[in-house]
Amino acid sequence: MGKQRSHKREDRVINMGRLWQKAVVVNNSQIADKIFRLGLNTEISGLVSPGQFVMLQPLAAESLLPRPFSVYSADGNSLIEIVYQVRGQNTSRYTELKPGDCLMILGPCGKPVVINEKFDFLILIGGGCGLASLHSLAKFGHQECRRLKVVAGFRNQKTIFGVLDFSNMGIEPTIATEDGSVGIKGTAIDAFKFVFLELTHNLGRNYNPKRILIFTCGPRPMEKEVATFALSQRITCLVFLEEMMGCGLGSCLGCAVQTKYGTKHICLDGPIFPSEEVVW
């Protein structure tokens, strides 16, 4: 349990740097079928790193647990954005939030992503609303001459989101839709294989799997398929894992994942894990 973390009290406080505070809603709008974008004014913006998430207070009267959401973007000052999918009572209530409304927020949660400089190709593979978790990693594509490819699978045209946000960063995502209404007909995996073939073809003799890093977020079966493929190609793959979460802090031990190195927790050790370590 947390063998690498410091357990000196002072170090603990410095290590996590989390806040539990009131955030103010700046905007809240629908961007796709059942997908909303929520902007919150909070100091957490200055603390959060790519890959981390926040916990929002529940709004449904029956709910006791805070809700985890990846941070879609943070301006580093006072604004963070969350892209969320409406699934149940709480996310339905979130759609009713208006500018000026207040919400308690805990964060940043989870471990920040650190990318080794040897990777000069990043491939982000998103399945459905999983793309929302990958968006914050796009900034790594701009650093140190890295090249970034984004692959996203959606159910149909109505559920597509985020394309413009990546375009504005100069990245054109390769899209797949299950019904073929936009882009490649198929899943994110189909789109990825297309992109991968193109990549290896373009790189030719310069192709080196050790220089490629894949991040994936989406339904578990999809993530497992990506992980299996990456392993077969000897490409490093990092996966966002999701599990029913309690406190988001590391207290309740609810969000457990089994890894080759024992039980780990999404809120403390994740949400991103090396896919080869995960016991699928």
Binding site: M1, H7, K8, R9, R12, V13, M16, G17, R18, L19, W20, Q57, P58, A61, E62, S63, L64, L65, P66, M104, L106, E243, M244, M245, G246, C247, L249, G250, S251, C252, L253, G254, C255, A256, V257, Q258, G262, T263, L268
Partner: protein, 302 residues
Amino acid sequence: MAKKVDLSTQIAGIKLKNPVMNASGTLSLENSELLDFSLLGAVVTKGITLEPRSGNKAPRLAETPIGLINSIGLENPGIKDFLDKYLPVWLSFGVPVIVNISGATPSEYRQLAKALTGTGITAVEVNVSCPNIEGKIIGTDPYQTALITATVKKYTDVPVIVKLTPNTNEIAAIAQSAAEAGADAISAVNTFMAMAIDIKTQQPKIGRGFGGLSGPAIRPQALFKVWQICQAVKIPVIGMGGITCAQDAIEFFLVGAAAIAVGTANFKNPLIMIEIIQGIEEYLRQRGQQSLQEIIGKTEIS
């Protein structure tokens, strides 16, 4: 000038500056960056076992209406790592530390009790009530409960609190059994066995199939059990079960609890225990009462 209300209380011979502590398994060292532990009456650690435990398979949590089913499975680092790495940090906050212990056999409890002797902790909380590990819940059997209580009492140098399960119709008898075996205090209640099924997948929402229910959903039942225990024993009782605010806590004091613990409510608001302490003080002040002791057991039911 308003006189400060005395919130102090006695549990097993220990004076606590206020009657509020966390329920085992709901507060970890990670909370200390958000909440000043030194403001609490006491802190209670997660249940520690002899050997490290990796806990149950996910999902370990399922929300139910104003409730939470958990099936953590006593994941913990084991007594050795706990003593080496974690206990020193718990003790550094300057607040009484109660260590919760759990075992499968009297021998395991004995070894845990011995290992915690002379470590500077305030008390041991004996978990005979976890519904999420193998075997029958010890706390459903008065004899087994007495045996474990006596074993721990014999081998430890600190007060022994026995944490009871509500999954019984005989909680009063079991509390009496623990008291007669030497328990210095009782804490109650642990979680109620419960279940939830996902009708989309037609599978249980909990990996193990079922777990323990906590939260406001259980409070009226927990309160009743605590009242039953308070009628049956003279030793102090730490009441818990769905407490989310000062008003809830006060109900438990009124039926006889000398202190209370807050568990699930910590997840929605990490500062809830501080608010509860303030709320208890406010309740007493508004009623012109000088101390918490004036309301403990005040409600009599004939």
